[in-house]
Every structure is written in structure tokens, then in C-alpha cells.
Amino acid sequence: MEQNKITEVKSKLVIIGGSAGSLEVLLQILPHLHVDVPPIVVILHRRTDSESPLIDVLEMRTKLRVKEVEEKEPVKQGWIYVAPANYHVLFEHDQTFALDDSEKVNHSRPSIDVGFQSAAEVYRDGVTGILLSGANADGTEGFRKIQEHGGVTIAQNPETAEISYMPAQAIHHHTADRVADAEGIVAIINSL
């Protein structure tokens, strides 16, 4: 009985999308996250020539471990995974990562919509999606997919975003369940 219960526990995943101005918010959020939060996947639009310094920058701000997503690796608790430049991040049903270099979506690869949608299909109502600052509408459609599968979507409060367009789009299209500033986002993730 007890055993059964444990295997029935739903896997959770936090997936964060951001574009221009999002790194700063992320750096405000990370230091306050507890080590027992669900696996976190970060999809940021970034210039293609930047290599791994992003990993180093994030690593200095968190107690969690940080790495770039590798194809076929299992998604594990205790880690923050960063989408590599030039690849979409997808999830397989066995909760491993897949990478895909197909066409850009919303002029972006990695695309936040693509990552959100795939996360929703695999983790269903276990997904918490977070959309930060940005000048692009990427993420709004992915939010809709997360909602359709029973997950929760949180947009950064556009008033606190360096570039409000991205979270504002999600709010405008009614795909954000909640609106929160960095502090609120920390509280939500820590409560998962």
C-alpha cells in the first residue's frame, strides 16, 4: 500500500522562459530557492555565440546544481537545466531530455513555446510554467498548452519586468493563471 502511494506521486517540473531582461530577474530568484524544489528547466533567448558563461553566472547564485541540457539525460531533482543555444528542448515520456534543431519558432531556437508544450505533454498537471521579461510573444502559446494539461502558469508582473511585452502578452491572452513579482515567484516555487 505504502509503496503504491510513493510510485503514484506525480512528477513535478518547473519550467522558466525568458528573453530580454530576464536574466536579472532570474538572478534575483535563484538565491532564494530551497534545495528540495522540483527540477527546474530554464529556456532563455540568448545570442547564439555565447557559450557556457551563463551556466557559471547562474551557478554562483544558487545552492542547486546547474548544467546545460544534454540529449537523453534524465531530468533530476536538485538540478537547474539550461537550454543550449540553437536547440529546442523537448521531453520524452520517460522523463529524459531530447534536443531538436528544427526550424525556429517565434524567431527563436530554443523556443519557449516548444519547451512549454513538450513539458505539458509529459508532466501534465505537474508543470509550473513561469514567463519572465522579454520583447517577444514566445511563451504565450506554451502557457495555453500547460493550462490545457492542468498545469499552472505564472507571468512575471509586467510592471516589474524590464521589458513587459512577453508577460503582458500572456496576461492579455488569458493564459497566465497568476501574476507575481520575483519574490512571489520564489514563494510559489518553494511551496511546490
Binding site: E71, K72, A98, D101
Partner: protein, 272 residues
């Protein structure tokens, strides 16, 4: 509401494609394949999965479109310039001593990386004794690659990448521009053999000093990756090189003990 195929739908579709048409996609990584099929169903406006499935079973021409559309054919010239820089500076000088050089691009898509390679070989004064085999599962992209005609719009990025590989001057001398297109010179094209080749079902066809298979294996499951690594191993001369995409590795494969990685690059040399 868009159609999203289930895992069962996918299995049925892949079995049909294999049984009826002999194309085996059953060992492809599921997440990407599912996304490609959903996209195709949407693009071609199928009202249901059943109708899509019927079309695939019954229409030989549509199957051709299926293969063209579910494979990801994105590519560019000198993609990952740093990679080409290492080819230029470390790999090519090593294979230069061979009397005759054979190179295989497996999964070359529309051929941009093949012409990039031919240009590097030309600049190393090796093209005259080089033969490049360029293969892909998708006949449509092989056709494009063989013609060597591309929209001029690819030039700015190609040129920018080229300079970052340590190349000098510009690419002007390698093509002729007509209207909004360019065509690569005969001098390059005559050194390349284009053919369809399916890494899942076709066997080794020669021995090479250098095999490039970039951004193809990410679409395969682990077993198929391993099988293809063995195919490459059989097709590589001793001390030959295998080059993979920026996110692919030989590390966990059955042949890894026979290979040594070139620093941090996704290039391995066969040491035994």
C-alpha cells in the same frame, strides 16, 4: 483544436510506414518525431489522425512528402565556425598526408556543410585528391545539394561564419551569382558524390579518413545511435576522424574505448 497524436497513434503510423513502404522510423526519438507529425497533420489540414493514417497507407506520393517533412533538414554553411576552424587547423593537416582522401557527410541535408568542406579542402590544396560522399535519407534535399544552387540570402551568414573559421577574403570565387541565386563552381561540385543512404537500413559502402554526421543522431534513440556508431566504426580507417554535432557525443557508446576526443571538440579519432 489542433490534433495531437497519442503514443499509440505514433506506433501505428510508424508500423504502417515500415510495413508498407519499408522506411523504418521506429527507433527515432519520440518527442521530436511526434512534434513533426503533429506539424505535418496541421500543415496538410487533415481533419483526423485516421485520415492521415489512411493517406499514408494508400498514397505512395504522400509517403514521399512524409519522409521529406518529418526529417529535420535545417543546416547552414560553416555551422559552428569554431568546429570548422579545428577541422582546418588540426584535422585536415593530419589527413593531408594520404595519397587519396575520402570524406563522408552522413545526413548532409541540403548540402551547405558539404560545400563548406570542399572549400576548406580547396584552400588546403587537397581538393584535387579528395572525394566527398554526401548522403541523406531524404531524396529531396539530396537533389538540392547536388544542384549546388542556393538563394543568395544565405551569403551574409555564410560569409560571417567563414571568417570565423579563420578563412580569409570572401567566398566570391567559389560561386557564380545569378539573379537572387548562387551556384557553386563545377570545380567543387565535381569532387562530390551525392546519393541517398539510410543510416537505419543501409550498410557501410567505403572506408574514409573523415566521417561527419552532425545533428542527425539527436533524432535517434540510444540503440539506433549505437548501431550507427558501429556503422561508422566499420567505415573509418585507423586514425580516421568522426565528427558529430555540437550536442552529440560518442562517450556512452559501445565504440568509445577505441576513440580519443580532440580536446573539447566534438571530433574523435580512431586509435585502434
Amino acid at each position: 483544436m489542433e490534433i495531437e497524436i497519442t503514443e499509440e497513434d505514433l506506433a501505428v503510423i510508424l508500423n504502417d510506414v515500415l510495413d508498407i513502404h519499408g522506411y523504418d522510423f521506429t527507433s527515432y526519438a519520440r518527442a521530436s518525431l511526434t512534434r513533426r507529425i503533429n506539424r505535418l497533420i496541421m500543415l496538410d489540414k487533415f481533419p483526423s489522425v485516421a485520415e492521415f493514417r489512411y493517406k499514408i497507407r494508400s498514397d505512395e506520393f504522400y509517403l514521399k512528402r512524409f519522409v521529406e517533412e518529418i526529417t529535420v533538414n535545417v543546416t547552414e554553411m560553416f555551422r559552428d565556425p569554431q568546429f570548422y576552424k579545428v577541422l582546418r587547423e588540426e584535422v585536415i593537416p593530419t589527413i593531408a598526408t594520404k595519397p587519396f582522401i575520402r570524406i563522408w557527410h552522413a545526413g548532409c541535408a541540403s548540402g551547405e556543410e558539404v560545400y563548406s568542406m570542399a572549400i576548406l579542402m580547396h584552400q588546403a590544396n587537397l581538393l584535387h585528391k579528395t572525394l566527398i560522399y554526401a548522403t541523406d535519407i531524404n531524396p529531396d534535399v539530396i537533389d538540392t545539394a547536388q544542384r549546388g544552387i542556393y538563394p543568395s540570402a544565405i551569403l551574409p551568414l555564410s560569409q560571417e561564419n567563414y571568417l570565423q573559421t579563420g578563412g580569409h577574403g570572401d567566398l566570391n570565387g567559389y560561386y557564380t551569382a545569378k539573379y537572387d541565386h548562387i551556384i557553386f563552381n563545377e570545380e567543387l561540385r565535381k569532387k562530390i558524390i551525392f546519393a541517398t543512404h539510410n543510416l537505419v537500413s543501409d550498410s557501410s559502402f567505403n572506408e574514409f579518413q573523415l566521417i561527419l554526421c552532425r545533428n542527425v543522431l539527436i533524432y535517434f534513440d540510444k540503440n539506433l545511435q549505437n548501431k550507427v556508431f558501429h556503422l561508422f566504426d566499420q567505415s573509418l580507417e585507423d586514425l580516421g576522424y568522426l565528427a558529430l554535432g555540437a550536442k552529440e557525443t560518442l562517450k556512452f557508446s559501445g565504440i568509445s574505448s577505441k576513440y580519443r576526443q580532440l580536446g573539447k571538440e566534438r571530433i574523435w579519432s580512431k586509435i585502434k
